[in-house]
Symmetry: C2
Subunit: 93 residues, 2 copies
């Protein structure tokens, strides 16, 4: 499997990169991600679980039953790729 395929295995699923992009601005709570991205709640839960398992993000416990999601170093390392893809997407056809 190529390096690219390995990367896509982790962040290639729908919504995954968008979640990571959002977290580049700092830790966010579940509800914030949901509202800002418009992602279905079950998909968000699934992606957060997968990305945590892959070591891309961690859960930070906040007060009682609320927590925040924050990127790990491995997650932050996606910034370059995300910026590059974003720039490509911004260029008009």
């Amino acid at each position: 499997m190529s390096d690219l395929a390995a990367a896509l295995d982790i962040v290639g699923a729908r919504w995954a990169l968008l979640v990571v992009e959002r977290l580049l601005d700092g830790p966010q709570r579940y509800g914030d991600l949901q509202r800002n991205l418009g992602v279905p709640t079950n998909m968000l839960a699934t992606r957060l679980r997968e990305l945590e398992a892959a070591g891309v993000l961690t859960r930070l416990p906040l007060r009682h039953n609320t927590r925040a999601y924050a990127l790990t170093d491995r997650g932050l390392a996606l910034r370059e790729a995300i910026v590059a893809l974003g720039r490509w997407g911004a260029e008009e056809a």
Copy 2:
């Protein structure tokens, strides 16, 4: 829709970026892509159609019923993003 979401709308589908990566080495024929990537044939056909419609690649007619797929400038502009993602994928957990 964010720039990243716009990009993923075009190259976010499964196999799409892997096809483009393969074409970064130069034009390839259908059968070559299929064998090198291990992508199901109907998916490859679908992706090539979508990527062509999006202006990422073009068909070059070769002899009789064979053709090659080559990246357009817009497709080549994905190199930076693909390299960045590949580098990320290469880093071990």
